[in-house]
Assembly symmetry: C2
Homo-oligomer: 182 residues x 2
DNA sequence: TATTGTTATACTCTATAACTATA
DNA sequence: TATAGTTATAGAGTATAACAATA
């Protein structure tokens, strides 16, 4: 229970969306999009902070470290390049996280048979035990986090967010390939 | 256009939610909550990354620095303690961001009349000009990000996220005061 | 030559805690 | 004594780029 957290303590008496609208009154802004986007960002931060504080902190795991354990738990041993991509971090970042997890004896490195440039990683017995215990706990917090919504609302929320994320990633990819082909 | 970005390039061929469900088949997890929460987090990250890359990078502004400019633009000169709270960062973090923004001549420090411990900050003319130009651009990207949804869906998304964030912040605050009073 | 992963450097943002100045 | 802001230290995560080993 020693881990430094990733955000200050939550606070409440923030100036509300309606104050912002009042200040920008009459200006030609897309207030609907503004609300949707700012709430996406705020909720994302709040969820990550909550999980870090409530679940990960006492196991001394960073968010990315937890993600790596989770990936290995779900799909088994993976090459590091693939793990980095799944976790959404660069290979350089993953190298650092791997060092930490190896030092904690939660993952182990596996040499590749044919191509000795490649490295795979897998859970150790200790890592397996930890994530098997941790993930159900994580999921129970997910239940708490969403319990303010009805099941139908939870599904609808996931559906709307999937659309946004997918269109965003698609457009980034296409602009990236445009950039690369210029 | 020199700023280092906060995440690796987007990728697409990620293992999907249905693969995860298949792997966890038969286990007593709350898949509905799992989907809702993971999509909140993913969308939040995707939105912030998009804004950093598409809008903020070429102005050499970090997300927090932009937030500070925005706060001052909407509400005018503010004491630093208040700005830190609104921006969701600690006062120590804000001190660093303020240094950068003062060095860029985008904000200026204002001494307090009566209590000389206090410091307020405000936009400079240059800062005012920048945020007046930048925010409409930012908002136009918010429109793009949400254009995959109908107006009604955008409103519904904001509503559902507000509920989640609010209940999360509420519960953190109450657990914090419980902790403090023990 | 191209590719995989490591290492080095630098930056942002995070926390906690000590410190200064002021009240 | 208490408070506002600064500074110091440490750590996570980010990028880019140089690098070694291997293909």
């Amino acid at each position: 229970m020693s881990r430094r957290l990733s955000s200050p303590a939550p606070h409440d008496n923030l100036l509300a969306e309606r104050d912002i609208r009042a200040r920008l009154e009459g200006r030609p802004f897309d207030f609907r999009a503004m609300s949707a986007v700012s709430n996406i960002y705020r909720a994302g931060t709040a969820v990550r902070n909550h999980m870090e504080r409530s679940v990960l902190a006492e196991y001394d795991l960073s968010w990315v470290a937890f993600t790596v354990l989770w990936i290995l738990w779900i799909w088994g041993a993976q090459e590091t390049g693939h793990v980095a991509e799944e976790a959404g971090v660069t290979k350089g970042t993953l190298t650092g996280v791997m060092k930490t997890l190896v030092a904690m004896n939660l993952i182990k490195r596996l040499p590749h048979k044919d191509d000795r440039r490649r490295v795979s990683i897998d859970l150790t017995a200790k890592g397996e035990k930890l994530i098997s215990k941790l993930f159900p706990l994580f999921n129970s917090h997910e239940t708490v986090v969403t319990s303010i919504l009805t099941p139908a609302e939870q599904d609808e929320l996931a559906r709307l967010l999937r659309k946004v994320t997918h269109s965003l990633v698609e457009s980034e990819i296409s602009s990236e390939s445009t950039r690369n082909s210029l």
